[in-house]
Symmetry: C2
Subunit: 250 residues, 2 copies
Amino acid sequence: MALDEPALPDVASPDGTASVWPDRIRSMLLELKLRDDGRLPSERWLTEQCNISRMTVRKALWQLEAEGLIHRFDRSGWFLSPPRFRYAPAHDVSFTAAVKAQGRVPGSVVLQKEELPASSEIAADLGVPEEEPIYRIRRLRLIDARPAFLELSHVVAARCPGLLAHVDEDVSLATVYQRHYGLVLKRRQVAMHPTALLNPHARDLRLAPGTPGLFLKRLTHDDAGQPVTFDQEYWRHDALIVEVTVGAQA
Amino acid sequence: MALDEPALPDVASPDGTASVWPDRIRSMLLELKLRDDGRLPSERWLTEQCNISRMTVRKALWQLEAEGLIHRFDRSGWFLSPPRFRYAPAHDVSFTAAVKAQGRVPGSVVLQKEELPASSEIAADLGVPEEEPIYRIRRLRLIDARPAFLELSHVVAARCPGLLAHVDEDVSLATVYQRHYGLVLKRRQVAMHPTALLNPHARDLRLAPGTPGLFLKRLTHDDAGQPVTFDQEYWRHDALIVEVTVGAQA
DNA sequence: AAGTGGTCTAGACCACCAC
DNA sequence: TGGTGGTCTAGACCACTTG
């Protein structure tokens, strides 16, 4: 696509005064032969090719980022985005297993693990008394080596004493619950909403602060209906499709 | 909060090189006495108060918009955002009823209604033969007079012949299904993902093209398990919290 | 009619990343 | 170390909204 052309769009904007450049750059990217890692040409290169200013390029890239077509590692560069992971948070009890089932490679990095008394908010969400001993585990979760979301788990310590000793890189908590404590997990409640990802979460996900994201929280209990864990997840907005199937809980 | 100060932030940025202005402006807004309609002061006023350039103000406002704190009507101005609507798409069968149940005022504007044969995609999603007669209804849905999402419904015509005659402003489709056709609806499958809202949807929602949104699609059947409608919804990202409860389907 | 947000320019400096 | 993206400036013009 030749874009050595005038700075002003030479076709009428299809929608009133809206900018044409996101569409133009989207077309360029799809026609361009990108490197294997999907890295885009630099913003300054696009600036020159399209004969527009850098802010205009960046605004267009932000829109393509919001669409989910491209993403960036903060201060590192822009890349074409991989397909979204199909996530059934009310059903899937193991992220690790669900990722593998879709032919992709899950990863986990433990950022923090500690025991502490439940705050009033967490106690209320879990349905346990305030000050109840809780294990708090903060993990970065990856799909094909790309950070996908940040998970903050609050586990009722009484249900799985000594859990923290089992928590390590690339260990599936669901497996630990089952093998070491005989717990069969079931989801109870999930709530989520789109929001911006701010620091410190953005930093851990290698995102620019303010990037769109999806915040999800979830209560999990065992097959006797007793609460086990209350999790908060901060997802990249472009990493997932959330699926909910009513009735058929396979 | 006095901000007649140097252009450069006078406190260290709490996180490396990230901008301080979103936090600054967030504080200002919460301390300011805003008009009853929640309208923010103009971008140029913020520019002068903070002694920064307009692009810096706008970038900060975009982040607060992504957080869900403020929103705008395209080309009209910035406003504080109302609370999110709690939405249970796998459970609620009537948007109208759910909004009222939360003490708010639902609205519907019919943008288009027509009968047409099912495309292959829609037929596959609905589980009916290609070319099957379909009613397609395009509605803008409002909460307290604010556009919340755009709904594109594909209804199997054979299940409710003459439906279009009943479709009108502020009519609940769920009620029509029940009263006129004796259909008791149940959700079957829901899938959603964050994405950008582009034209023409953005225009109908009075959003700037590229604003973050949530795309949701959903299959609904009757109590005999027969497909009735396949809906696609384009939500403002800041209008909802999605809730999923497993087990208790009241 | 005045003021608003939307778009865009043509530069600048910085910290950090990749080669 | 050269090039990258992140931040920011100080303007401009336009179409539309608001009072």
